[in-house]
């Protein structure tokens, strides 16, 4: 077995063992931290699909995270007040059922990713970075100035949405749901990465001209990757909103986009488990350094700078060494 596979299995084991230990020790706060790490990991896996596999440096993934969050917020707030989301041309009621909310979140963030991607992918390189950033800001300002769903104050959902057969308000059960979704997302992403589409996408990242020469259309490959990537990040947004039972325009802020990217870099870019390791490390740092000093972002900045300048490949590369690559 490859060293990285062993590490990946170990990471999943730790991620599952820590909250189970916390359950024994009666530390619900640690379960919540682990849930947060798992949700951030899903968001990171989403961005990593575009960034690591397709080489698309998107600084606007907070948009999809926020759309996922607001999908949950809007549906659940209507269910809370027994009112319809829209009444014309067809009546759509709110819902507090998690599976329906997830599907809607994936659908909406996917559609938005398709639109934003179709426009942004007309450009490349540094333009692409700035344009995705700008589209993220556009939605951020829209959410702030749109008064229907709370505007700047956001929306509070009083009861966590339900999942058939489970008590979602129990921290360990909600963690279980998020963990299962993370495993599902990882499985899907690893399958897509090995499919002919994934191979073509990796090819386009490495050499666009050659892919064109063998009849592929890079724009189409990138757009599909960007859409899938946005949809996964949207799912994470819906879960994050359910974790906090609160959504606000902060989910759309560009710092969120930056942080999702930081998960990937801390763990290791382009690796399946990079964002998982990175998100767990981020939560750990936030918890440990945040306890040391209220200015813990200085240390985070210094660590990030160190990783970018001297340890490209992140924590996974430090442990298992360079990837056996076919580049």
């Amino acid at each position: 077995m490859r060293k990285e596979t062993v590490l990946n299995a170990f990471v999943l084991f730790v991620l599952l063992a820590v909250p189970l230990w916390a359950l024994q020790a009666d530390e619900p706060f640690i379960i919540t931290l682990a849930t947060k790490a798992v949700i951030f990991a899903i968001a990171g896996v989403g961005l990593n699909f575009a960034l690591g596999l397709g080489g698309l440096v998107s600084l606007g993934h907070a948009a999809f995270f926020g759309i996922g969050g607001y999908t949950m917020g809007i549906l659940a707030s209507h269910a809370q007040s027994y009112s319809a989301v829209i009444e014309w041309p067809i009546v759509i009621e709110g819902t507090s059922s998690m599976p329906i909310i997830w599907l809607t979140a994936v659908l909406f963030s996917g559609v938005f990713a398709l639109i934003i991607g179709a426009l942004s992918l007309r450009t490349s390189g540094v333009y692409f970075i700035m344009i995705t950033l700008a589209f993220g800001q556009m939605l951020f300002f829209f959410m702030i100035s749109w008064p229907t769903y709370g505007g700047e104050d956001g929306l509070v959902i009083y009861v966590r949405n339900g999942f058939p057969g489970l008590n979602t308000l129990d921290p360990i059960q909600f963690f279980g749901i998020c963990f299962a979704l993370l495993c599902l997302v990882l499985l899907v992403v690893s399958r897509i990465a090995k499919s002919s589409f994934g191979l073509a996408l990796g090819g386009a990242r490495q050499n666009e001209e050659r892919m064109q020469a063998i009849g592929m259309v890079p724009y189409r490959l990138y757009l599909i990757a960007f859409t899938i990537s946005g949809a996964i990040t949207g799912l994470a947004g819906a879960l994050f909103a359910d974790l906090n039972r609160f959504v606000s325009p902060t989910m759309f802020s560009w710092q969120t986009s930056g942080e999702i990217m930081v998960f990937i870099i801390l763990g290791g870019m382009g690796r399946l488990f990079g964002p998982v390791v990175g998100a767990a490390l981020f939560i750990l740092l936030e918890h440990l350094l945040g306890g040391l000093s209220e200015f813990w972002h200085i240390y985070l900045g210094a660590i990030l700078l160190g990783v970018v300048l001297f340890a490209r490949g992140g924590l996974i590369q430090l442990i298992v060494g360079r990837e056996i690559s076919h580049d």
Binding site: Y127, M130, A134, M138, S145, M261, V262, L304, L305, L309
Partner: protein, 305 residues
């Protein structure tokens, strides 16, 4: 709707645009010459504002405060260039984005640590406070008019520096062929430090000038930075002319959309709905402008393909 109000809004848009130009000019110069995308540019804006507020509080002189903002931002720019940025020129854009994102975290939290979380205030000097009477009975704040003037003078100076001076020739040469001017005996690393410090100084003075209208606080730089990105995407990355045109377009669009759209919707729906629809659309207007420009010219108005 009176014409006078409209003219005032146009002046406000102009003032906003001129400030955006000071930010965007530095960004686009740094990208044009060094090929670097710098997210930490907003931090220099913040450093300029804080340096000005601290100096004004200590000495009471607004002019000294402006000088301090230039010096502090340029010094911060030069130090950062020599310690961190220099290592990033050969890296890809992703590394540049991440490293400069890390710099933002360090600068913002560092400033919060030094000055605390509460906003500082920078007073408009006595001789510039109060309105000025313009032709046609328009009254306009003197200070805002002064900002437009200072901005235009700095813009003119920048164009002269790049078009007429020896260092300007080197900058333009650096944009078109880095290796060649190094081979011709220009100390390229000194030139890079100079360009970076110049861009930082422009951002710093913009921060100080705006700091007197708004409050001086941590995180003030990033919203402006993102607008400056929109400006240079519209104008074409690397083009100073494009940055000027883009900045004025964005400044005017943002101000006039916020003013006109709620009124326009007021003609077809009731007042409360018009205000909410109008202001939501207005907040998105510059991004719609950007998307529109990109549909027709993916490399911006003055960008090279």
């Amino acid at each position: 709707m009176s014409l006078i109000l409209l003219i005032e809004q146009v002046l406000n848009g102009l003032q906003f645009g001129v400030m955006l130009f000071l930010m965007a000019a530095g960004l686009t110069l740094i990208f044009g010459v060094m090929g670097l995308i710098n997210l930490a540019h907003g931090s220099f804006y913040m450093i300029g504002a804080f340096a000005a507020a601290a100096t004004a509080a200590a000495t009471g002189s607004f002019l000294l405060a402006l000088v301090a903002s230039l010096v502090a931002a340029a010094a911060a720019g030069a130090i950062v260039e020599m310690t961190v940025i220099r290592r990033l020129y050969t890296r890809d854009h992703l590394d540049q984005v991440l490293a400069t994102f890390a710099l933002i975290l360090i600068f913002s939290e560092g400033t919060r640590w030094m000055f605390g979380s509460f906003p500082l205030f920078l007073e408009i000097p006595e001789y510039l406070s109060g309105p000025i009477r313009l032709p046609f009975g328009i009254e306009y704040p003197q200070y805002r008019l002064a900002i437009i003037a200072v901005g235009l003078i700095v813009a003119g100076g920048l164009f002269a520096l790049i078009a007429k001076t020896r260092i300007g020739i080197q900058i333009r040469a650096g944009e078109s062929d880095r290796e060649m001017i190094a081979a011709l005996g220009v100390d390229i690393s000194k030139l890079y430090t100079f360009v970076f410090a110049l861009g930082a100084a422009l951002a710093g003075i913009a921060g100080a000038l705006i700091g007197a209208i708004q409050s001086v606080q941590v995180g003030m730089g990033e919203p402006v930075l993102i607008l400056a990105f929109v400006v240079i995407v519209i104008g074409g990355i690397g083009s100073i002319k494009g940055a000027l045109l883009g900045a004025l377009l964005v400044g005017l669009t943002d101000t006039l959309a916020g003013f006109l759209l709620p009124k326009a919707f007021g003609l077809i729906m009731d007042a409360a709905a018009a205000t909410s629809v109008g202001s939501s659309l207005a907040s998105m207007s510059i991004y719609i402008l950007m998307a529109g420009v990109l549909l027709f010219k993916p490399t911006g108005l003055f960008g090279s393909t």
